[in-house]
Symmetry: C2
Subunit: 363 residues, 2 copies
């Protein structure tokens, strides 16, 4: 079933409000979650509400979090998330970084005492939509990535998101975990009954496994690159860089310390091209770079070279037009969460006329 | 043969001076080149002088370059390298970023009209030695990395360097090309008569090759991750991020445009932890993170988990104590360059007594 963006936003907001989240935080959180669902990053959107429900029941997040800026300098700031979800402090942090960049050229804001903040790319894209370069990274509360030469996970999937503004093309958008593959891909392989490539995860003996069931049991993900020979030490280094910028810089807790109380940190950067170039020159050069890359000689003429962000932009266009598809299990979870929260379950299929327009008419 | 750091710095400086480089640029360039040789990044140190000689003869670099700051904001600056080598404008840029970070929390400086600047990690390490987080990236003048689904190279090896200050441990230092393997490793495999792993480079038909001779002929390097299945699109995205920050931000030339005149750009960032944390808290937490990572359960007890920067720090200690080893071919090149430049060839083995102290006494 497909639902309209407005319906999904309202349903998320109703549940968060019933859980005790203040209105400003509800609006920001629902917007970031919806943006992930629109972009096809289904694992980081409304899907996460059941996890958030568990976290609040376990006392790992406070819905009525007191979010405040605790330090500020002309180019930097530190925000305390008050032990709540990360979407609201994350949105405030990126907005503050954007404001500082428009003033002094660059803005860097760290967030501590936070938790899951959705998809990193949504924040980076906000900067690009404001005409700025944007970057966001985050630590996570669950270990996944195994350092090179190690046999236990010491980092989360520690994503890096980077976006840059354009004029003719959609913005450049890189949004990547620093693991070789996301945990969600292991589940897909298991459901499909297919082996996973060696290089995604380690088995019980610490060597690469091709069995998705074993990989899901060990939860030992390889850093980008996989083995040492194929550059896995670089992925490990990137995961540690993300952890330093998200955790050590903000004063959050390194997941590898194994503390009982979650304290997740994030990192945000905005940078104004107009501090470096004549107005429009950055966007024109990035457009020309994208043109050159699309014209790269392809290995297979049927599969041209893509630009990072192409899948997210295409899915966002398609879902804005046709609605957001939700699997029956996700709908059932949402119905249960709404019932338990004492709010109406309002997700209905979009009206057939405007939403069922064929995709081709939109592109 | 091993030579002392002072002898090597003086020999480099004499040749650069004879080529017409002004004194301030000579001092900065020799220092950055020497630091690469000390750290064991042999491919980016004195080894490069023969390339620099060819570039100046080809008119691709100007030794008497006019380096100047052309734009400045409280948190950012743009430096024009004047068409010379990158070490001097790169050093000025990182120093300026450090000064801005000590003032307003962060400093970001881009450089255009530059060329090869040595090893990216040397600049990032300068910030860490000043108590700051440092980052440097650079584009290059030669294509190497093939975008995912492509059959031709569109980016250089576009490195990312990141360093962070510590107290008990040496600084964190990540210095990585965004290709799976460096071009130098292809040469080593060829010399050793060994195949290269599939995932390093593409052959003439655009598919992965294990023949180092073919890989050196095509010069089609795979982005970090290798194939699409193993995350190569992430390495491609990182290479493009580096190109955007180095080239588009500064107004340098994208290597994929294939312009006849080289115009290389670099990116520098410094960030003051004291803008975010109480004095010493960042360094203490990073030290504790490093302790936890060194204590990671290893796959093989004989190979503990390393921290990014360990090899560079160890080699620097060893070479400061015992001198820098130079291969006969490198010495012969330097002797020829000195002769052609009309300066004395002054590289002699270090005096045996203080320099021959066994390494173990230093560690």
């Amino acid at each position: 079933m497909r639902v309209t963006p407005d319906h999904l936003r309202d349903q998320i907001a109703a549940i968060l409000t019933a859980w005790g989240m203040p209105a400003a935080a509800v609006a920001a959180t629902a917007e970031v979650m919806l943006a992930a669902d629109l972009a096809g990053i289904d694992s980081h959107g409304v899907n996460m509400l059941t996890l958030y429900d568990r976290l609040r029941r376990d006392g790992q997040i406070t819905l009525a979090a007191d979010v405040k800026t605790v330090r500020e300098n002309s180019g930097t700031a530190l925000i305390d998330g008050g032990g709540g979800l990360g979407h609201y402090p994350g949105s405030l942090a990126m907005n503050l970084a954007i404001a500082k960049a428009k003033e002094g050229g660059s803005g860097i804001v760290a967030v501590r005492h936070s938790h899951h903040y959705g998809a990193a790319g949504i924040y980076a894209l906000r900067a690009a939509e404001a005409g700025l370069i944007g970057c966001s990274m985050t630590a996570t509360f669950a270990r996944a990535i195994v350092p090179t030469f190690g046999a236990e996970a010491m980092f989360g999937t520690n994503p890096i998101a980077f976006a840059a503004p354009t004029r003719r093309h959609p913005p450049f958008l890189l949004d990547m975990a620093t693991s070789t593959a996301a945990a969600g891909k292991l589940k897909l392989a298991l459901q499909a009954g297919k082996p996973i490539p060696a290089g995604w995860a380690l088995g019980r003996d610490g060597t690469p496994t091709t069995d998705p069931a074993e990989a899901l049991a060990t939860r030992l993900l390889s850093p980008l690159g996989g083995s040492r020979e194929l550059g896995g030490h670089k992925g490990y280094g990137l995961a540690m860089m993300v952890e330093i910028l998200s955790t050590v810089l903000s004063g959050a807790a390194f997941v590898g310390w194994g503390l009982a109380r979650h304290n997740v940190g994030h990192f945000f950067l905005a940078l104004d091209p107009a501090s470096f170039r004549e107005p429009g020159a950055f966007e024109a050069d990035l457009d020309a770079m994208i043109d050159a890359l699309r014209a790269t000689k392809p290995l297979d003429p049927a599969q041209p070279v893509l630009i990072p962000g192409d899948p997210e932009h295409r899915t966002t266009r398609e879902r804005r037009a046709r609605g957001i598809p939700l699997a029956p299990a996700v709908l059932a979870d949402l119905e249960r969460l709404a019932y338990e929260a004492g709010v109406a379950f309002t997700l209905v299929p979009p009206s057939p006329l405007p939403m069922a327009a064929p995709l081709s008419s939109m592109e």
